[in-house]
C-alpha cells in the first residue's frame, strides 16, 4: 500500500488530445503532478490551456463535442469526470479568471456557498437538509479560518460587491481552500488583478498550502513570478506540450521564446516594415517627445491614424493610455494577451465603447464615442464579436453585406434622397453576389440567413461588409478566430491583396502573434492597457514574447548590457 502511494502521482495525464469539429486543439499531452508541488503552466491564448482545464474538470462542453483522447489518473486510479461537481468531489479545486462570486453575499456566505454549516433540527431529518437553518456563527468561524490561511485580513461580514478586486480573488481562493479534501488547486491568472503586495501575500499563502501537501497548478503570464514561485514549468504551444522542465533550468528569455516562437523561422516569411519617411525611431512613436526633431519631420507626411492618450472603457479589455501612429498603406498589427486591452483600442476608436483621448485620421480630429463619426471618415470595422456585433444573424446575407454602406453612404437605395428612398434589393443582391464570388463564401445565395453559415463564411461576410464601404482605413479584430485553416489563409490573403490594390491602411488586432507577424509591417504589443512596445514583424520571436510577458524593462536592461 505505502509503496503504491510513493509510486503514484497525485494527478497523471496520459496522451490527452482533443479535437473540436475537426480542429485539433490539444495533441498528446502527458505530464504528472506530485503532492505539494507547484507547477507553472504557460501558453499563449489558444495554446490549449483552457481546453486542458475543461477536460480535467469534466466540463459539459467537452462531453457534448465528443469527449477527449487519452487518460487521466488520480492517485493511480483512472477517472473520467462528466461534470465539474465530480472533479470537485475528487479534490480538484479551481479558481477562475472571472469571479464566480455572488455580489450581494458576504465573504462568509460566498466562501461557504452551497456548503453552509447547518443546524440539526427535526425538520432536517423529515424534509432533507434544505430546510435546516444555517449556523451563522460556525460558518463565520470556518470562513475566518480559510481567510487566515491566506494570511490576509478581510472581514468575514464584508459584502463582496463592496470589496476591492484583489479581495475578491482571495475570497475565491479561500472558497477552494475551505473544501476539506481539496488536494489539487488550479489558479488561472490569480495575480492579474492583484497589487504587488497582494500578489506577494498570495504567493506566500500558496507556498504554505503546498507545504501542507496541496499541489498547485499556477497559470500566469508574469514570467518573473512563475520562475520565482514554481518548482516546474510546462509550456503549451498550438496544443502541444513544448517543455516540461524544472523552473531553475529555464531563463525568462527562453520561456518567452518557447512560448511564442517557431523553431524554423524563415526570414522572408515576415513582411518588412513599410518604407516610411521617418527616422528609425518609428518603431516606437509613442515614446518620442512631441517637440523632438522627429516630430517636426512627421509634419511632412500625415499618418493615416494618429492616436494619443487613448482610453477606452471596454469591459474586460480596458485601455488606459495608448498612443501610436499608423502610416498610410501600412498593415499594422496589435497583439497581446487576452484581457490586456488590445481589443479595446479598435473598439474605442470606432466609438463602440466609451473612450477619450485624441485620435486623428489623416490629420483631422476624430470625435469619439459615436460609430457614425468614424464611419463618416471612411473607416470600416470588423468586430471580434461576430455573432454579437458583426452580423445580423436573422437577416439575409445581402442585408449583412450592404447595410452599413446603405446607412452611411446612401448606396443601394432608390428614390429621392431625404424625401423617399426605398432599398434597392436587386442592387443589394448583386453586390452580395459579387462578394460571395470574390471571397468564396459558401452559401445558397444572397438571401440565406447569416446565422446559418459556418464561422469562416460568417467572417467573410463581415469582411465583405467592410469592403462594401470602400474604406481608407480598415480595422479588423481577430480576423481568424474560430475558423478553419483554409478559411484562415483565404482571409489573410484577401486582406493582403486588398491592402496592395487599394493602398488601404489596415489595422489588425489578433491574439495570434504568428498571424500578425506574417501579415503586418509592424506589430504593437499591448499589456495592462498600455502599449508595451512596437516592433517590426521581423523582430525575433522572443522579443515579442518578452513584451507580452510584461518584461519590457528587463529586456531594455539586457540590451544595455549587451
Amino acid at each position: 500500500m505505502s509503496e503504491n502511494v510513493i509510486n503514484t502521482s497525485l494527478l497523471r495525464l496520459e496522451h490527452i488530445g482533443k479535437e473540436f469539429y475537426g480542429n485539433r486543439v490539444l495533441n498528446d499531452i502527458s505530464f504528472s503532478i506530485e503532492a505539494g508541488e507547484i507547477l507553472g503552466l504557460i501558453g499563449e491564448n489558444g495554446a490549449g490551456k483552457s481546453t486542458l482545464l475543461n477536460i480535467l474538470f469534466g466540463m459539459p462542453v467537452i462531453n457534448s463535442t465528443g469527449g477527449h483522447e487519452g487518460r487521466i489518473y488520480i492517485d493511480g486510479q483512472p477517472v473520467n469526470f462528466t461534470s465539474p461537481q465530480q472533479a470537485l468531489a475528487a479534490g480538484i479545486g479551481m479558481v477562475h479568471q472571472e469571479f464566480s462570486l455572488i455580489p450581494g453575499f458576504t465573504a462568509t456566505e460566498n466562501i461557504l456557498l452551497n456548503r453552509e454549516v447547518l443546524n440539526g433540527s427535526l425538520l432536517r431529518y423529515l424534509f432533507g437538509k434544505r430546510l435546516a437553518t444555517l449556523d451563522r456563527e460556525a460558518m463565520r468561524q470556518r470562513a475566518m479560518k480559510a481567510i487566515n490561511t491566506l494570511g490576509v485580513h478581510i472581514s468575514t461580514d464584508m459584502v463582496v460587491s463592496e470589496m476591492p478586486v484583489g479581495y475578491k480573488q482571495f475570497i475565491e481562493i479561500a472558497r477552494e481552500i475551505d473544501r476539506k479534501h481539496t488536494r489539487l488547486l488550479f489558479l488561472d491568472e490569480p495575480t492579474a488583478v492583484l497589487t504587488e503586495t497582494e500578489a506577494e501575500i498570495l504567493i506566500t499563502a500558496l507556498k504554505k498550502l503546498a507545504r501542507e501537501g496541496i499541489a498547485i497548478v499556477f497559470i500566469s503570464h508574469r514570467l518573473e513570478e512563475i520562475k520565482a514561485f514554481c518548482n516546474r514549468i510546462i509550456i503549451l504551444r498550438d496544443g502541444n506540450l513544448i517543455t516540461d522542465q524544472p523552473a531553475n533550468e529555464l531563463s525568462t528569455k527562453r520561456i518567452a521564446s518557447l512560448m511564442v516562437g517557431r523553431n524554423n523561422e524563415q526570414k522572408d516569411f515576415y513582411a518588412e516594415p513599410i518604407k516610411l519617411d521617418k527616422s528609425e525611431d518609428k518603431d516606437e512613436p509613442d515614446t518620442s517627445a512631441p517637440d523632438s526633431p522627429d516630430a517636426k519631420k512627421k509634419k511632412k507626411k500625415k499618418p493615416a491614424l494618429k492616436v494619443e492618450n487613448l482610453w477606452v472603457d471596454m469591459p474586460g479589455e480596458t485601455v488606459l493610455d495608448v498612443s501610436f501612429e499608423v502610416m498610410r498603406g501600412e498593415i499594422f498589427g496589435i497583439g497581446g494577451l487576452a484581457g490586456q486591452g488590445k481589443l479595446g483600442i479598435p473598439n474605442g476608436i470606432m466609438g463602440l465603447y466609451p473612450a477619450g483621448g485624441k485620435v486623428r485620421v489623416f490629420g483631422k480630429k476624430l470625435h469619439l464615442n459615436k460609430p457614425r463619426n468614424a464611419l463618416n471618415r471612411e473607416m470600416a470595422f470588423v468586430s471580434e464579436d461576430r455573432r454579437g456585433v458583426g452580423l445580423l444573424l436573422d437577416e439575409p446575407l445581402d442585408w449583412n453585406i450592404t447595410f452599413t454602406a446603405m446607412q452611411m453612404q446612401g448606396k443601394f437605395l432608390l428614390g429621392i434622397p431625404h424625401i423617399f428612398q426605398i432599398r434597392n434589393e436587386i442592387a443589394m443582391a448583386s453586390e452580395a453576389r459579387k462578394y460571395i464570388k470574390a471571397l468564396d463564401i459558401k452559401c445558397t445565395g444572397p438571401s440565406q440567413k447569416a446565422g446559418e453559415l459556418s464561422g469562416g463564411n460568417q467572417q467573410k461576410v463581415c469582411l465583405a461588409r467592410a469592403f462594401a464601404l470602400e474604406p481608407n482605413i480598415l480595422l479588423i479584430c481577430e480576423p481568424t478566430r474560430g475558423i478553419d485553416i483554409g478559411a484562415k489563409n483565404l482571409v489573410l490573403d484577401t486582406l493582403r491583396q486588398y491592402n496592395k490594390e487599394h493602398n488601404t491602411t489596415i489595422i489588425i488586432t489578433s491574439s495570434e502573434l504568428e498571424e500578425l507577424r506574417s501579415i503586418c509591417n509592424r506589430v504593437a504589443i499591448v499589456g495592462g492597457g498600455k502599449i508595451a512596445g512596437v516592433l517590426p514583424a521581423s523582430a525575433p520571436a522572443e522579443d515579442f514574447g518578452l513584451l507580452m510577458m510584461g518584461q519590457m524593462r528587463q529586456q531594455e536592461n539586457e540590451n544595455e548590457e549587451a
Binding site: 463602440l352 460609430p371 463618416n376 464579436d385 454579437g388 452580423l391 452599413t404 446607412q407 423617399f420 428612398q421
Partner: protein, 381 residues
C-alpha cells in the same frame, strides 16, 4: 416536405388552423350558414386588422409586443370624440376656407354630401398628433427600461386607460349626443357613431350579393354576402404604407436595430431613435385602427373599453407566425383571419352543437396560450 412545413408554420398555428377548418366544415351540418360565417369573419378581419398592423413597427424595432396599444387607442378615442364635438365647427371652417381661397368644388352641398367622410377623416387627423405625442413620450420611457418593455407597456396601458376614465368624466365636452343626459356633463360609456361615420368604410364600394342558389329540390344554398370592400382597401393601403416604410432606409435601420441593436449601432444607426420612431408609428396605427374599428362596430367605447384591446391584437399577430422580435404583413393577415375566424365560428358552431357558448373561454385559452407560446420559445442568443 410536410415536416418542413410544420417546422415553418409551428404546431400551434397548425392546430388552430385545423380547428378553424373543422369549424368551417362542421358549420353547414349543424345549420350554420357558411357564407354568413365567412362574411362575418371578413368583416371582423377588416375591423381588427389595422390594430394588429400596429404591432409590426415595435416588434421589428425590438421593443417587443406592444401591450401598450391602449395608448394609441386613447389617441383614437380623443380624435373620434373631438371630431364629433366639433363636427359643425369643422364644416364651417372648411366652408370659410373655401370662400377665402376660392376653392370652387368645396361647396356647401359637397360638404353636406360628404359630411360623414369628413367626420371620419377629421377624427383620424385629430387623433394623429395626440398619438404622435403620446407615442413619443412612451417611446422615450421604453428606451429607459430596455429589457422590461412588455411588462411596463402593459401597465402603462392600464394606468393610462384608468387615468382617461377620470378625464372622460371631467373634460368639458358639450355635444348632447355624447354626454350623459341626466348629469349634463361627462362622456357616456358608449357613443354611437350613427349619423357620423357609421359603416363609412364598410359601405364604400361594398359588394352585396344575395341569392338563393337552388341545388336540388331539398337543398337550397342561401348566399348572403356583403363584402366591406372599402374597409379592406383601407387596410390594404395602411399595410402598403407600412410595407413601404419598412423598406425605406429608416425602416431598414429599424429592422436591423431590432434584429441586433449592437450591429445597428456599429453601423452608425441611432438605435434609441429608431425605437422611438417605431413606438410613435405603432401608436399612430393604433389610433387609426380603433377609428376603423368603431366605424364598423358602430360605437365609440370609452372608459374601460380599451382596457383589454391589446391582448387580441398581440395574440393575432403571434398566431399569424410572428415571434417576439420578427413580424411581417403576412403574419398580420394570416393571424387576424385565423383569430377572428375562431371568434366568429366558435359561438355559432358550438351553440348549435352543444347549446352553449364557449367562445369566451376558447378566446381566452387560444389568445393567451399563443402569447405564452411565443414568450417561452427559445430565442437565439
Amino acid at each position: 416536405m410536410i415536416k418542413n412545413f410544420i417546422a415553418k408554420a409551428g404546431w400551434p398555428r397548425i392546430i388552430i388552423g385545423l380547428f378553424l377548418l373543422a369549424l368551417f366544415i362542421t358549420a353547414p351540418f349543424v345549420g350554420v350558414n357558411f357564407f354568413t360565417s365567412l362574411n362575418n369573419t371578413i368583416v371582423r378581419f377588416g375591423m381588427n386588422s389595422v390594430l394588429v398592423l400596429a404591432m409590426i413597427p415595435m416588434i421589428q424595432a425590438g421593443c417587443g409586443l406592444n401591450f401598450g396599444l391602449p395608448l394609441g387607442i386613447i389617441a383614437g378615442l380623443l380624435g373620434a370624440t373631438l371630431s364629433i364635438e366639433f363636427n359643425e365647427k369643422i364644416l364651417e371652417l372648411l366652408l370659410q376656407c373655401a370662400t377665402q381661397y376660392k376653392i370652387s368644388w368645396l361647396t356647401e352641398e359637397f360638404l353636406t354630401l360628404h359630411r360623414e367622410a369628413i367626420g371620419f377623416a377629421s377624427a383620424i387627423i385629430i387623433a394623429i398628433p395626440f398619438a404622435a405625442v403620446l407615442g413619443w413620450l412612451y417611446g422615450k420611457l421604453l428606451n429607459r427600461v430596455k429589457g422590461d418593455e412588455m411588462m411596463i407597456a402593459t401597465y402603462v396601458g392600464f394606468s393610462s386607460v384608468s387615468f382617461m376614465c377620470i378625464a372622460w368624466l371631467l373634460l368639458p365636452y358639450k355635444h348632447p349626443t355624447m354626454i350623459w343626459g341626466y348629469a349634463g356633463h361627462g362622456l357616456r360609456t358608449t357613443i354611437s357613431v350613427d349619423g357620423y361615420w357609421l359603416h363609412i368604410l364598410n359601405d364604400w364600394l361594398a359588394i352585396n350579393f344575395k341569392e338563393d342558389i337552388v341545388l336540388s329540390d331539398s337543398l337550397t344554398l342561401n348566399v348572403n354576402l356583403s363584402i366591406p370592400t372599402g374597409m379592406l382597401i383601407f387596410f390594404a393601403a395602411m399595410a402598403l404604407f407600412v410595407w413601404l416604410f419598412m423598406r425605406t432606409k429608416t425602416g431598414t435601420a429599424m429592422t436591423a436595430a431590432g434584429s441586433n441593436p449592437e450591429f445597428a449601432r456599429a453601423s452608425g444607426v441611432n438605435v434609441d431613435k429608431m425605437r422611438t420612431i417605431s413606438v410613435v408609428m405603432s401608436t399612430i396605427l393604433g389610433a387609426v385602427g380603433i377609428i376603423v374599428y368603431q366605424q364598423s362596430f358602430g360605437f365609440i367605447q370609452l372608459y374601460m373599453g380599451p382596457f383589454y384591446m391589446a391582448l387580441p391584437a398581440v395574440a393575432s399577430i403571434l398566431l399569424g407566425g410572428a415571434s417576439v422580435n420578427k413580424a411581417t404583413i403576412l403574419n398580420v393577415i394570416v393571424g387576424t383571419f385565423l383569430f377572428q375566424g375562431i371568434l366568429t365560428m366558435t359561438p355559432s358552431v358550438f351553440n348549435s352543437l352543444f347549446q352553449t357558448d364557449m367562445s369566451e373561454v376558447i378566446r381566452l385559452i387560444v389568445s393567451n396560450g399563443m402569447i405564452l407560446y411565443a414568450l417561452t420559445r427559445k430565442v437565439r442568443a
